[in-house]
């Protein structure tokens, strides 16, 4: 099961805050994060990797990017 965080339209640093909160408190093995800017994509990816998780895929979507993260 993957949990989805919709961070589209949120300004810096909200997408990172929401992602870190899920990594720390959630339990799903996979996390999907939706973002709408390149800046958010970069920030979220960097934050995920700093927590020891892995960015498995980044897909371009009509409204930004879908980031697929797996816990280690």
């Amino acid at each position: 099961m993957a949990v989805t965080i919709d961070a589209r339209g949120l300004s810096c640093p909200q997408p990172v805050l929401a992602t870190l909160k899920e990594i720390k408190s959630g339990s799903d093995p996979e996390i999907v994060i939706l973002v709408d800017t390149d800046t958010s994509k970069e920030n979220v990816s960097r934050a995920v990797e700093s927590q020891g998780c892995t960015v498995k895929a980044v897909q371009s979507e009509e409204e930004g990017y879908k980031i697929l993260v797996t816990r280690e």
Binding site: G9, S11, C12, P13, D36, D38, N43, S45, R46
Partner: protein
């Protein structure tokens, strides 16, 4: 992924180096002391050039600011990142812009200038940087407790063009009504005869430097507020490297150009009231943190289509008018008559925004 080199750690440091070298050079070519590219000061000068305030020593249409927005717009279009968006509590962002400017003008500088002042030997900048960090720390407490101005909406591409077009209009006004030696006014624009507003690098140089910095900074997401915020909030040093690089390379460039003069007294466009240097930047830092970017970053965001950042910029330009018309801005002589009161009111307004604008979020 991985193709935007400027957004890497070394890319951000590179942009810090670029700004750190360009700012003292611009001073060397004519800009005011320790004010090579101060976003708050230069937006204040633009406000004066338009006659929004009549402080005759700080009126000049600064091409650097125009360049920052247009350079960012070019980068955003070239790399297909332009995205027109608005609607995340614009009025809150406007008010934050107003008080960010008031706080910055009590200290006399934005975060960039605080760094440049330090790099020029101005010890008062230490108080400013400490205040900035304290204000941002207060901001992180609000962020941790759910402060959020809400989501933006995608909108017509032309909405995001409005601030860049305004900047093009400013540039056109400068060309139509150039400075006339000895005249305080040329057509609709005001030009300082004395003081910082009368000191400037050649237009083409200023504009080119602005475009270059705007282009690179958009790609790198360079942000001084974010640098301190991410360090406090996430223990992340990604953006902080750029801020440090700015200080170090501005220091080196100042040494080379003979512009390093250590001390507290008689520094260019500065005062020595430690408490108010700290408090002014605390207010500014909190306002930047609540608005999600330092003044430079807000210009770059506005260039890539963020209409809310454009509203923040407008707030800063209006705030400069308020600061000078109401006697809130400091000068080398010290605080303005109502500067202290304005900082207290500004803190109250920022706390109101921080405490009342929280969301549990989706």
């Amino acid at each position: 992924m991985g193709k935007n080199w400027l957004a890497t750690r070394w890319g951000v440091i590179g942009v810090g180096v670029l700004i750190g070298v360009m700012a003292p050079l611009l001073q060397y070519w004519g800009n005011p002391g320790n004010m090579g590219v101060c976003v708050a000061c230069f937006e204040r000068d633009i406000s004066g050039a338009l006659g929004f305030h009549r402080a005759s020593v700080v009126q000049y249409m600064r091409p650097e600011i125009i360049g920052f927005v247009l350079g960012s717009l070019m980068a955003a279009y070239l790399f297909r990142e332009y995205r027109s968006r608005v609607g995340s509590a614009p009025i809150a962002r406007f008010v934050l812009g107003v008080f960010a400017m008031i706080g910055a003008l009590v200290f006399l500088g934005c975060p960039w200038r605080a760094a440049l002042r330090l790099a020029g030997g101005d010890g008062n900048a230490i108080l400013g940087l400490a205040g900035l960090s304290f204000g941002i720390w207060v901001g992180t407490l609000f962020l941790k407790s759910g402060y959020n101005l809400g989501r933006v909406q995608k909108t017509h591409a032309s909405v995001g063009w409005l601030l860049p077009l305004t900047m093009l209009g400013f540039l056109a006004l400068m060309l139509i009504f150039p400075k006339v030696p000895g005249e305080a006014q040329s057509g609709v624009l005001f030009y300082s005869q004395t003081g910082p507003g009368s000191m400037y690098a050649p237009l083409a140089v200023s504009l080119a430097a602005g475009l270059l910095i705007g282009f690179a900074a958009q790609r790198s997401r360079f942000c001084t507020m974010g640098a301190v915020r991410d360090l406090i909030l996430f223990r992340q040093t990604h953006l902080f490297g750029g801020f440090v690089a700015l200080v170090v390379f501005a220091f080196i460039t100042n040494l080379v150009l003979g512009q390093f003069h250590p001390g507290f007294a008689d520094q260019p466009v500065a005062h020595t009231l430690h408490l108010w240097n700290f408090a002014g930047m605390t207010l500014a830092g909190l306002a930047f943190a609540l608005a999600g970017g330092c003044p430079g970053r807000q210009l770059f965001l506005a260039g890539e289509g963020d209409g809310d950042a454009a509203v923040f910029v407008m707030g800063m330009i209006v705030g400069a008018g308020v600061a000078h018309n109401f006697g809130l801005a400091s000068s080398p002589a010290g605080l303005g008559p109502y500067g202290a009161a304005a900082v207290i009111v500004g803190m109250a307004v920022c706390l109101f925004i921080g405490f009342t604008m929280r969301q549990t979020g989706r």
